[in-house]
Amino acid sequence: MKNAQAMIEQLRKGGKPVVGCFPLYPPLELMHSMGLLPVVLWGLRDSVSDTRDADRHVQPYACSVARQLAQFVIADGPGLLDGLFFYNACDTLRNLPELLREGIACSRRITPPMFRVHVPMKEDGASGYLASEIGNLIKALQASYDVSFSEERFARSVSLYERARWLCRRLEDAVAEGVLTFAGFSAALARANFLAVEDQIALLESALADCEGSITQPSATRVIASGILPPPPVICDLIEQAGLRVAGNDIASMHRSYAFSPEVWDDVRDYYVAFYRDHFPCTTLLHTADRRVDAVVDIVSRRDADAFVFVGEKFCEYEYFELPYLEQQLKESGVPVLSIEVSIDDDGSAETFRTRIDAFAEFLSGREGRHGA
């Protein structure tokens, strides 16, 4: 994949303003419907060679997502992005907007316009409050970019994003069937993230077409991968080399992002109330915690998986607070769990994970009546 900088450069050639968004579930459909090109600034591992600028603003005990995001925006944001959109997530990310502003200001460049929304972390969705936030966002985007909003265009954008999410779900099926590698699927999604939704659809359709007629790989021990980011490619390789197949995932930037879109809604405000309230459970959406274990157990069951592999991002407190309970529940359901932790400094040392992954695979192959045993 080309790096994010090159992909966004390409996007900008279309002449539409590009809005960098974080964290994972911004109102993409709304921005697209107003003639903007939203990109989610997540998983910038391959686009950031070091974090030298970010390190002047963010302590090293912040997660790699935050540090790489800060590096990307401070170093490249002013030249690449026409706007930045944030909503509230973890404590580190909510502190970032002004740090990014400062980081950019330190190099005497101009910070792109910033837009913020507070997404209610309430089970009932706090519909009135969120509706007002969405209304304010529309006004702010109109004022900044001289664009307009219409419910008709919004509905068309929703259809496009739902199509893209549907294709992601079909590609996940292809991974489960063994006609596409998880690493290949993950790479396709990473690339799609920096495309306009129309091009995402073309890319995903092409990837799906490539799967048709592909030879199904021999049965293997099936695992579900989980984490805030997909495992680094080198860890995906280690998993496959150990004879394990990632047959499904509970990864924030993958399944949790494409699993759900509201089917019935009245208008843009109503859409986003349902979007956040009923979202596929994610550790970053505080109000979804009650549904999370059931949702994960359901993935394990639907994918007929033998085990669960959590690849945690060091310092991601949201994920680590829920892990002991999730692990306990899965183990009680007879699902073995392997938990490994990666950090920003691990790039050269992924081999240290080989022993653990191999040992886990051996343990799984020793269990009776399992796939590939």
Partner: protein, 414 residues
């Protein structure tokens, strides 16, 4: 040499013992027990006759202050909780896991309701979720929008709606009707106590200062056990009067005060006595901290935000939900910090980068730079953890603090 406990110090110890024993006693008699995060307003629960509030963060800080923080953290880590998680949370989860065997307060009574919020830190919601799953009790989340500027009207209205929902939930769970008069009375006890707190804090302006930041850290405890009671207001009056008398009599905690510093972060509870003695011997007094100065104020300021007779106390509580530094953006933090530097008279700032509190800490690098630029003050950043001593290097911290003093001296031409 250790300072002798003053009248207010002794009163504080008695008050804390009575508060925790009182909570246990009332729970044993059947009171409805709420566990709340520290910024959840206790006055709301004082509006019910048979409801008591416990604050797990405060219990965790007490454990750390008593020197058992790391041992309690280890118990949580043995359950699978990462060492990178907040040490308050690990202490709380760890100490609960073995039935509070080592707790200095015999732990906390089992809750009937959990009330967390995401304004101080959103991890509190995750932390309380751990208890919800473990104990099978409901969990009410107060969702408070972060402030990058002054609190917005719509956010205030949103918070007020949630306060009313919380009251309705407690009414429904207890069968007791919320008593507006009891609530109003509690809010005014708190307001009087906070006025006295501000009076106590104002003696930091005196040269030498009438207090150290360590005194103010220790004296915060009633804010989490006794708000809304007459004893709360009485205690802080006693404290402020005592400091006033001592200042008038020329008695100061650091009489030979050569350096007046500001501490930016939560207290590192396991080091209070040791550090206060070490610094006092060097003529150093840390005289202020946003952590304690923010009490009774609004976002972006340490000025008093008082409750008068004509103001709806529920509105007043909602309006002040972003006061506690963590729910504020950089610009607001700098505004508040700047006012403290100017009013109290500060020679240098210690930014305590706290691995257990990212929400407080991930902003300090820019704060440090901007404060240095605007005020020309020497500053230093040291690594701490508020409750887990394993993440604190005494040598490294003192080395850096001494470098700060040298910097201040150099600036004085000394």
């Amino acid at each position: 040499m250790a300072r002798e406990k003053t009248r207010a110090g002794k009163h504080l110890s008695e008050m804390m013992m009575n508060a925790y024993m009182g909570i246990h006693g009332r729970a044993a008699e059947g009171a409805f027990v709420v566990w709340g995060a520290i910024i959840v307003p206790p006055e709301i629960f004082r509006g019910f006759e048979n409801v008591v509030l416990c604050v797990p963060e405060s219990h965790a800080a007490l454990c750390a202050g008593k020197g058992i923080g790391s041992e309690e953290c280890l118990k949580a880590e043995a359950l699978g909780y990462s060492m990178d998680l907040c040490s308050y949370a690990r202490i709380d989860i760890g100490s609960l896991s073995d039935g509070y065997q080592d707790s200095p307060t015999f732990g906390l009574p089992k809750p009937d309701l959990l009330v967390s919020d995401n304004n101080n830190c959103s991890l509190l919601v995750k932390w309380f979720d751990v208890h919800r799953r473990e104990m099978g009790v409901p969990h009410f989340i107060l969702d408070v929008p972060f402030c990058y500027g002054p609190q917005r009207e719509k956010d205030l209205a949103y918070i007020l709606t949630q306060f009313r929902d919380l009251i309705a939930m407690v009414e429904s769970m207890t069968g007791e009707t919320f008593d507006e008069d009891r609530f109003r009375e509690a809010a005014h006890h708190t307001a009087e106590g906070v006025r006295q707190w501000k009076r106590f804090m104002s003696f930091a302006k005196h040269r030498p200062s009438g207090l150290t930041v360590f005194d103010s850290f220790v004296q915060m405890a009633p804010l989490f056990t006794s708000r809304g009671t007459p004893e709360f207001a009485e205690h802080y009056k006693l404290l402020a009067d005592e400091v006033a008398e001592r200042v008038a009599a020329g008695i100061f905690p650091v009489p030979d005060e050569k350096y007046r510093l500001l501490w930016d972060n939560i207290a590192h509870w396991h080091q209070l006595r040791k550090m206060s003695e070490h610094l006092a011997a060097l003529g150093v007094n840390i005289v202020a901290a946003p952590y304690t100065s923010c009490i009774g104020s609004l976002e972006g300021s340490f000025a008093p935000f008082d409750l008068d007779e004509d103001t709806d106390p529920l509105w007043h509580l909602a309006r002040s939900q972003n006061h506690s530094v963590c729910p504020m953006g950089l610009d607001l933090r700098l505004a508040a910090l700047g006012s403290a530097i100017e009013e109290v008279g500060i020679d240098g700032v210690v930014f305590a980068s706290n691995r257990s509190c990212k929400v407080f800490s991930v902003m300090q690098m820019d704060e440090q730079r901007l404060i240095g630029e605007k005020y020309g003050l020497p500053t230093v950043m040291i690594d701490v953890d508020h409750a887990d001593v394993r993440k604190f290097s005494e040598q490294s911290a003192y080395l850096r603090l001494e470098a700060l003093l040298e910097n201040i001296e150099a600036g004085r031409g000394g």
